[in-house]
Structures are given as C-alpha cells and as structure tokens.
C-alpha cells in the first residue's frame, strides 16, 4: 500500500459521486488516471484492505431487521459452534470476543419473524441460550479511518 492507495482509501470513505463517469471524477481529484484508480481499487478489494466498495444500506430503512446477539460457547466446542452459527445465511458477521459471552454475531433478516426463527434455529442446533440485543436507539454510525 503506497501513498496513492492511502489517498484513494481516505477519499472513498467520504463518498462516491453519482454521475456518468464517477471514477474519472475521483481520479482527477487524486491526480491519477481513471484506469490507474480502477486497477488499484480492484487490488485493494482483492487483498482485503477494502472489505467492500459500493452503496452501504441502512437495513431498517429498507424494512429489514438487524440485531446483535451473543452466546457463551464452551471452549472445547467453540469451533463447531462457530461453524453452526456461520452456516446460517442470516448471520452477517461473527466475532470471537474476550468475555464469558464469547461469540458475538449480527443477524440480518428481512423481517423480525425471520430473526426470531434464526435465533430458535441457533438455540436448537447449539443447545445454547442466545442473548439477543437489538438496538433500542442508534446515536451514531459512521467513522472514517485514516489510512
């Protein structure tokens, strides 16, 4: 990752134009060519420095349901429980965390009923209690990480 890659990452976290030639517009601001920008973007996505490039949707505004949930997975079954939970397409993210509640995942579904049913599936397949923590209120979502 060089100075130009960093400039691209910083610029594209701010937003991306909606116009006929948006990459050209961004490339001009960065003083590089459009094809250079496209090549570098592809590479940043391929090597995982960027996990995504495109529209970021607000699930609840689309009528979907999102929740953060956690389980206490016994250490000796940790991997197999992660596998069972990750197998559900409703699970968008899953992180191991240093707490008694040691597995934290995000459930993204179209409806609240599907969220409840995903929780029931996880509970019956793992034998664990799912602690469900859907947000009551969102105060802020954003942040630019300086590359």
């Amino acid at each position: 990752m060089d100075k130009i890659d960093r400039a691209i990452i910083n610029a594209l976290q701010e937003g991306f134009p909606v116009c006929d030639l948006p990459y050209l517009q961004v490339a001009k601001q960065l003083h590089i060519t459009e094809s250079n920008l496209l090549q570098r973007l592809q590479k940043l996505l391929d090597n995982g420095i960027l996990s995504r490039f495109g529209p970021l949707f607000h699930a609840e505004q689309m009528g979907g349901a999102l929740s953060l949930a956690a389980v206490k997975a016994p250490e000796e079954q940790f991997d197999s429980i992660a596998e069972k939970i990750n197998a559900l397409p409703e699970v968008a993210h899953n992180y191991a965390r240093n707490h008694e509640l040691n597995m934290w995942f995000v459930l993204a579904t179209e409806t609240l009923e599907q969220q409840q049913s995903a929780i029931q599936t996880i509970e019956s397949q793992t034998g664990l209690t799912v602690v469900n923590m859907p947000k009551i209120k969102e105060y802020f979502v954003g942040l630019k990480l300086e590359a």
Binding site: V18, C19, P22, I49, A59, A92, Y95, A96, K137, F140
Partner: protein, 161 residues
Amino acid sequence: MDNIDKQIISATQAGLPLVSQPYQRLAKQIGITANDLMQRLTSMQENGIIRRIGAVPNHYKLGYKHNGMTVWDIDDTQIDRLGELIGQLDFVSHCYHRPRHLPDWPYNFFAMIHSKTEAGAQSQIQQIAELLGEHCRSSNVLYSTKILKKTGLRIKKNVSS
C-alpha cells in the same frame, strides 16, 4: 421502495462494478435508463436507505488493531443525552442503546472504538468514562480476538422480475 429499488439493492450488494460507467452497467443489467438509476440512488441516499456510497476498509489491515466494543451501564434517564454526546467523539464508529439482560449482562450502551495502539484505546475509553461520569454504574471492554465470519449484509429481497 418499489420493485426496481429492490433490484438496485440486490444488484449492488456485492459492490459497484469497477468499470468506467458503473451506473450505465447496472442500469442495463436491471433494464432501466442510467438517468433513472442515478436518480433513484440519489433519492435513496436522501431518504436514508443508502447511508453512503463508498469504501469500507478492513480495520486490521489499516493498522487499527485495537477495536474495542466498549459497553456501559448507564442511567436510563440520561442515556439519550449521553449517547448523542458520545456519538460525536471522532473515534467512535457506532454507538447504540441496547437492552440489558440481567444478571449476566448489565450494559445498555455500546460504543465501538478504534485505535492503532493500546495506549490510544485506553485514552479513548477514559474520554468516554469522563463524559459519562456519575451516570455510569459499571463498564467493560470486549476486544474481538478473531473474525469468525464477515460477509456484510446480504438481505434477500423478494424481487419479482
């Protein structure tokens, strides 16, 4: 949101095409004009269905190795005022009011922090604690030790063609 908006969502869930005219490409795929597509993307940003169009970096790969989920037990009568205040801190990426689950989980406020250094993370936690002051009864910080899955949101929409 109509059926075409749903098609736009499903066509862009994997990301924007990396071609000179990405909106032309998407419009063609969906079967609408590029102008219609661009207008719809703009209005979806205005009404909040799209938070923004842009890049999401992997925190770890940018050197942000200390990503903490700070959790706090805050007086319910103060949480909205304090939540807004903490959401304004420049190192907080997400912050929410969530339900407690007593007795295991007494925390009702979550704020994600990000730092390249341990000392930086400690100072961020300290800044939050100072803002909360006496309204916070207890707190904890959960660091992620491993990413077990990260696919992003893949909400299936019932798109009829």
